[in-house]
Symmetry: C2
């Protein structure tokens, strides 16, 4: 085993002396006992020239005290990264402050560009480029991965994805930059201060998707503050007048529409500044888990696995849909058990009234809140399994089906009991109590399960690791090998899904029954402030660094939040209509009451849609900048056509007598 | 005067002998008494080479018996048209049946292309190209139009637009192709047959916008047939059972959602076949009527008139909006007068019951229908004036504001009385009668005012013209000069706005109160069948040939129709809830009735939105074809980048020692 690897190590250590600025960016961990020929072939493919179908990257085995451990560091030369930036379509700021797609030929026009400025691309961008290049390293004429006949390849198949699915490649992850991370931690949550998050720094370090989540979280928290401020006097002065509730609910509804529309604008400002608003969508490759029999893909014309769309539809409608319905039924069943418990607690309280029994009143709600969280998490696994089994070809389609499944279930699971209390039992007191218990319990559970528990586990593990290493070494600065070994054991951040879902449910608690429990916004604000810190902690301390993912918006979540705000118009109108104060306004006829409520509801919905239509999605200056870019690209195209026409005309004069005559006449 | 023109004529008649296939495509009519120097300059600019900023087209004065009449014919060489097709981004069918953007260099790959096949581009396409080239003929360093110091020019200003706004240019219109038109007329409405319209031929002759209107009209007619068929037994058997009405209304609502969704798919199929689905949007120039002080346009960086957006907003919100509100108020006032008249007629009928008095019952409705039509038309002029005064920079923005103004007023004007009868008077009998009278009267008026009257006028004029010409000549085949003279006097077709508006209002009559008057769909179908014929007649016989306009969809009308179908869900649910049969179902509590109706309404709306979301906007095969094109263009881009990278590497080896070393190492 050792011979070939040794050779490689030696040749690389030679490179190390020449290429003194090899900067390790990405770590590749291969399975223990991976065959020599596989490693040799894989590293050769990574280093091979682009022209030969390689990735033309630099790769270097990690040497620790225990020898070579099948861990490799990947880097790239500065020039290679610049060319890669052009391939992935990176958008950077020019010297004249406009954002443009980076091309190598126009590199001099970009801000801060210099041939020797290796910080022109951020580390996260470099890592994204390397990930892209590795994933686009494709099989040529190999039929299988050398040494593993069962790991089939076909021309055009991504090698890294096959290595991952066949278990030879354990993981690929980007390295943390300890210096940068320290600075970021300090400015993000290191000091006690009131102020905005350093979103641009977060974006530089973690990429746009994560920065946008934190941007949304911050924006959403600020947006909730007016609701919270208005909500406080309702609690303090125990306002119960219907007119104040109507005012609160109306303000709430219009406000929730406005904040969602304004978010689109802020999102456009952020992603314009980060360049992702202008980034062209790349052609989507099949997701790693996609399988099927080899066939001709009608779109690309390439031979690759195809899977019948009808089969997938059958799986969706005959298996997934019934399963989701069953889960929804089960969730409702659990809800009914909760109401039995609630009744039992109430009876118990009535029979033997004591401090203990009045405390017991809260127990069913708390138990139910815990059960809801547990069910949500179990269902999440089932939904992931099912959606993966549906065998979607594209990651985006997989994500959409997963999000839809999870949203529907979580919505019903969290809010069904509240709807039941409000519109079947008509018990406003119980509604308020349940709402408060559910909201607060779920927030505490989430914070604990999401950030504090992993943080504690990670900290314990780190302490153990450090102790072990300190026993061997004296200097506190970790070597590269130690850093890699430590980071590869850290948990993997699975994306912003859970974080958005949490915010979505919170938005539901705040808006659906806002007029019954105006204090909900206050708790939401408090939770979100700690959420920012605990999520930041999670990103910086608990998880491996995630790869940066460019994104231009929060995607399907915008739609989810908007749907929630439409539903909340309906629920709030009904709640107000049911309140005894409003009831008292129409002493003669319940009919008039209901008709008035329905009318108001329709008016509010109409106003909502008109507002969403009238408020432009992008601020005027961004619109102008986009128009300017579009204009320039059209002008450039025209110039090209014109240049082409010029080229064309002169040869024609020599070749075609008919055209010659015509042009001579036109010139005259 | 005659000298210079004569020279031009002579040089052109010389060209005539050489360029034997000069095909007149577009007619330019200059004002009588236009100065010589202007004509000379204008024709020179049109003929000048592209490289000199000209349009490089062919132009020829029209010579009639009365000498030169300031009418010019414009044509272009075959090559020029092909290059123009590339400039406007025409999409044509390739030999492998895929649709691709035409480029001159790839011309050989296109279906039916041959260097001597002058029918590769349809005449409408050629005319569209010439129009585009003429409109893009821009001032270079001219400060004004020669001979007209008041007609200012600045670099980049479209010359033709300035000539039009200063009245020197009377009109530009494309010539009819009498042969083709005859064929089209025959296959369109010349023979009595049941079948589809020749949409592809219409598109070839009139362009995509008009063909798409006729496609929509035909589709809409077919889509109404099921409603009409179901509606007939309600009339015949006088069904008044609530359950049948509920069934009809529910079917109607779901059906109206389905037909609007399916139309999007059919529209995609049509426009894919016609190539406009793939056509890139051109950068929009300011509309001809736009004025302002010279300034720097922030988007283009060019000096051109700019107009403050705040001023425009002030005009919209301080003048237009109050004016529209005033008109709406006036319309409601007229409606109240109508109800007084109605009451008066009823009283009269009660006092002296006779055949005459029972006929008198219909008179107010008919008068009101006529008044509505008249008010709609007057308001239309006011709206056009106001929107033009708002001084929108882009034609699209002008159109959107105009359509919004007109739609709101027409909707209220046509349907306010019906809403009043239904939801204030609760008089279902009167509602049915009013609906029938309004629908039928407006249909008759429209057909008359839109097609038959202009046709009759045109026919009379043609007969007079022919008589005059026949007295001078014997051959019946009109010469080119006669044809031009005849066509230039024809009316100008002002676009599909009125036609769509008519369909929109008809859709309102059919769907808003469908459960009260199921027969409406029958009348709509009958009207639409004759509408197809009268509109076809109008296009072929009454109006000048319009310029073809590429379009990919019916634009804002899709939204308008969808909004109408949402409103109709609400009205139908209320109507059903108000019917005595449904009333009888809830004898104990009106509350339950209203709540049930509200619940059903919300359910229907939810189903509507889910259906709109679930039904894909484009059929699967079109989606695949689009994905294939996107994939190809991304691949081509990658190839370019790759080729560029190759080019780049070799020089680098010679120039930079650092990079040389690196590449040598990587090769090794």
């Amino acid at each position: 085993m050792a011979e070939k690897t040794k050779e490689l190590v030696e040749s690389w250590s030679f490179l190390d002396t020449v290429e003194s600025n090899f900067r390790p960016l990405v770590v590749i961990e291969l399975a223990k006992g991976t065959k020599e020929e596989t490693i040799e072939w894989f590293t050769k493919r990574i280093m091979d020239k682009k022209a030969n179908g390689g990735a033309q990257l630099l790769i270097k085995p990690l040497v620790t005290e225990n020898g070579v451990e099948n861990i490799y560091l990947v880097g790239a030369s500065h020039l290679r990264l610049l060319l890669g930036a052009e391939t992935v379509g990176l958008v950077k700021e020019c010297s004249d402050n406009s954002m443009r797609t980076f091309t190598y030929s126009s590199r001099k026009t970009f801000k801060d560009f210099a041939d020797d400025n290796h910080n022109f691309l951020t580390m996260a961008e470099c890592q994204y480029i390397i990930k892209h290049e590795l994933e686009n390293l494709r099989a040529k004429d190999e039929k299988m991965i050398p040494g593993y006949p069962q790991a089939k390849l076909y021309p055009g198949k991504s090698i890294v994805r096959r290595l991952l699915t066949s278990g030879i490649l354990v993981q690929i992850f980007p390295l943390h930059d300890r210096e940068e991370l320290k600075k970021l931690r300090h400015s993000w949550y290191g000091r006690v201060k009131v102020g905005y998050q350093p979103l641009d720094d977060i974006r530089c370090y973690f990429g746009e998707t994560i920065a946008l989540y934190f941007g949304f979280l911050e924006y959403f928290t600020f947006a909730l503050i007016p609701m919270a401020v208005i909500g406080i006097p309702y609690y303090v002065f125990a306002w119960e007048d219907y007119d104040k509730y109507v005012m609160f609910a109306t303000f709430n509804l219009l406000w929730s529409t406005v904040i969602l529309e304004v978010w689109k604008r802020i999102c456009a400002i952020l992603t314009y500044r980060w360049g992702t608003l202008l980034m062209k969508r790349q052609f989507e490759e099949p997701r790693p888990g996609f399988h099927g029999v080899l066939g001709i893909n009608p779109v690309t014309g390439r031979e690759e696995p195809v899977y019948s769309s009808i089969k997938r539809q059958l799986r969706i409608y005959l298996v997934s849909l019934p399963f989701v319905c069953l889960c929804l039924y089960f969730s409702l069943y659990v809800m009914m058990i909760y109401f039995d418990l609630e009744q039992w607690a109430l009876d118990y309280h009535k029979e033997n009234e004591s401090n203990f029994s009045s405390l017991m009143l809260y127990v069913p709600s708390i138990i139910y809140a815990v059960v809801i969280e547990v069910m949500n998490r179990i269902y999440r696994y089932a939904a992931e399994f099912l959606t993966s089994w549906e065998n979607h070809r594209l990651e985006s389609s997989y994500q959409n089906h997963l999000i839809l499944k999870v949203l529907v279930f979580n919505f019903l699971n969290c809010f069904a009991s509240l709807f039941y209390i409000a519109f079947v039992l008509f018990d406003m007191k119980l509604l308020r109590q349940s709402l408060a218990t559910l909201l607060i319990t779920s927030q505490i559970l989430n914070q604990f399960a999401e950030s504090l528990l992993p943080y504690w586990l990670q900290k314990r593990y780190n302490r153990r690791m450090k102790k072990r290493m300190c026993s061997q070494k004296t200097d506190m600065d970790l070597s590269l090998a130690d850093q890699v070994n430590m980071e590869k054991e850290m948990g993997t951040y699975l994306g912003t899904f859970d974080d958005y879902l949490e915010l979505f449910l919170q938005f539901g608690y705040v808006s659906l029954f806002s007029c019954v429990y105006p204090l909900a916004a206050v708790f939401a604000v408090l939770n979100n402030i700690t959420e920012i810190y605990s999520d930041a902690l999670k990103m910086c301390r608990v998880y491996k660094r995630p790869f940066a993912e460019p994104t231009a918006n929060i995607g399907v979540w915008q739609l989810a939040f908007e749907t929630m705000s439409v539903i909340s118009v309906v629920t709030n109108c009904i709640l107000i209509g049911m309140s005894p104060q409003v009831d008292a306004l129409f002493p003669d006829s319940k009919m008039d009451l209901v008709l008035t409520v329905a009318l108001v509801e329709h008016l509010l919905l109409a106003i909502k849609f008109i507002m969403a239509f009238v408020i432009p999605d992008k601020p005027r200056d961004i619109q102008m900048k986009l128009a300017r870019l579009e204009f320039e690209s059209l002008e450039a195209l025209k110039q090209q056509v014109r240049a082409f026409q010029m080229q064309l005309h002169f040869p024609l004069i020599h070749h075609s007598s008919f055209h010659t005559l015509e042009y001579l006449l036109l010139q005259h």
